[in-house]
Amino acid sequence: MSIRTETPTRPRIGSDAAPILSFDNVCKRYGSLDALAGVTFQVNRGEVVCLIGPSGSGKSTLLRCANALESIDSGRVLMDGRDVHDRRTDARNLRRRMGMVFQNFELFPHLTVLRNVAVGPTTVLRMPAAGAAARAMELLRKVGLGDKAAQYPAALSGGQQQRVAIARALAMQPDVMLFDEPTSALDPETIGEVLSVMKRLADEGMTMVVVTHEMDFAKRVGNWIVVFDHGKVVEQGPPRQVFEEPTIQRTRDFLSHLGWHGESLAASDLLVPAPSGSYEHRTSD
């Protein structure tokens, strides 16, 4: 079975229009540690950009710099042409256009599942409670958790909590979704449900930046892969190039360290259903 002959990666889209999110030589230091040492890449509207690389390589830090949860030392982050870290920029206004999903879910434990999703619209957008609840309910159904609305987060499994967290971010109707290792804290059996919600979101055209160790997801759903190491982008390109013909030794080392060999794709079908007909071994679908 040769993977190389038929790779279902999405093409990079919208590259002619201005990028919705762009990182230009972003640097950030923690003491003597260069967390980010000149990171440059772009996210176009409708794209799924996956950030991969070893732990501690700066991927999560970069995500937090994207919505100004962390400051940067130099460089620029532009969201829709506006400098995120400029003092004159209203960070709150930009943040509500960027939904964020965290590794540890960070649901609000004292609020019901429904209120967790509605609290953004009611407090930030000053939406009336009834309207916010209706929107929240709709989103909970969308992530398959309509029946959990009255529960508290503690009563949910990790995968369910993360799906609520996705609904919570979507309730603000963001232009971009930022995912910070959304499946890293999950039991293996619940990873799939979260990834399939994310894939559906991607299929609907949501712009997504995903920090992940799920290489199958990155390869199938991503339009563009950015490989991090020691705070730098060591390689970026379409999934086909990065996963199958990595030009950089560091990328090859990282991928082989994760046990990534083209043939391992078959096992991963359990996680994300491939678009039908995308893979030769799935053409029977």
């Binding site: 709150r92 943040r95 509500r96 964020m100 540890n104 960070e106 609000f108 407090t123 971010a169």
Partner: protein, 221 residues
């Protein structure tokens, strides 16, 4: 020793007045203490180094001075500062509230710092301001987590209201003293006073415990 409860029965309204003052003095000083404590706790945690220092000085001062001294100072010395005399009741509420506020400040601060930073990040990422995040996300969790120590402080506040008898607030202990002096029945009267304090404080403590047990899972992020 013969026991004669008739002074209690004959003077029940006098004692009831005292009980009324004990309850209103306690409630108002708890409300004042809670207001100071929430403001102080939030200011120390999120208000920057200057506010932290200022509130810190207040907390250290109050915790190093006997509540009786604070009470006497508030009633007898503070009016000279403001050029306005205080009623015993107002002086009592102020002194007890300011005293309690220092302890609630530290309890709220401990609760706020125990909520993990990811909760603040999640709230900010939704577009909330820091104030909105503290009010709707962090503070409720902090209060739930800190209910057991806050419950102790509330019970202590009720008991400390008896100290206001020294500035002649007609609360339960003060009324008991007056009555005991008039009737020469200190045993019956002071024993009843103790019993009444117990009947207020014990159920209060149990009730707060129970509320905590029901809410505890909601404060665990």
């Amino acid at each position: 020793m013969d026991i004669d409860v008739s002074p209690l029965i004959l003077n029940w309204q006098f004692i009831l007045t005292g009980l009324g003052f004990t309850i209103s003095l306690s409630l108002l000083s708890i409300i004042l203490g809670a207001a100071i404590g929430i403001f102080g706790g939030v200011a120390r945690t999120y208000g920057g180094p200057l506010l932290d220092t200022i509130v810190g000085v207040y907390v250290d001062l109050v915790r190093s001075i006997p509540v009786l001294a604070i009470l006497v100072w508030t009633y007898f010395a503070f009016p000279l500062v403001i050029g306005e005399s205080l009623t015993p009741f107002t002086g009592g509420v102020l002194a007890l509230g300011v005293h309690l506020g220092a302890y609630i400040t530290e309890t709220i601060r401990a609760g706020l710092t125990s909520v993990r930073p990811g909760q603040m990040r999640a709230a900010l990422a939704l577009g909330m301001s820091r104030t909105q995040a503290i009010r709707t996300i962090i503070l409720p969790q902090a209060v739930i987590r800190m209910l057991p120590p806050l419950g102790s402080l509330i019970v202590i506040a009720v008991k400390d209201s008896a100290i206001a008898s020294v500035i002649a607030v007609p609360e339960l202990l003060r009324q008991s003293q007056v009555l005991a002096g008039k009737t020469f029945r200190p045993f019956e009267i002071y024993t009843s006073a103790m019993l009444i304090y117990f009947l207020i404080c014990y159920p209060t403590a149990r009730m707060i415990d129970r509320i905590y047990r029901n809410l505890a899972p909601l404060g665990a992020s």
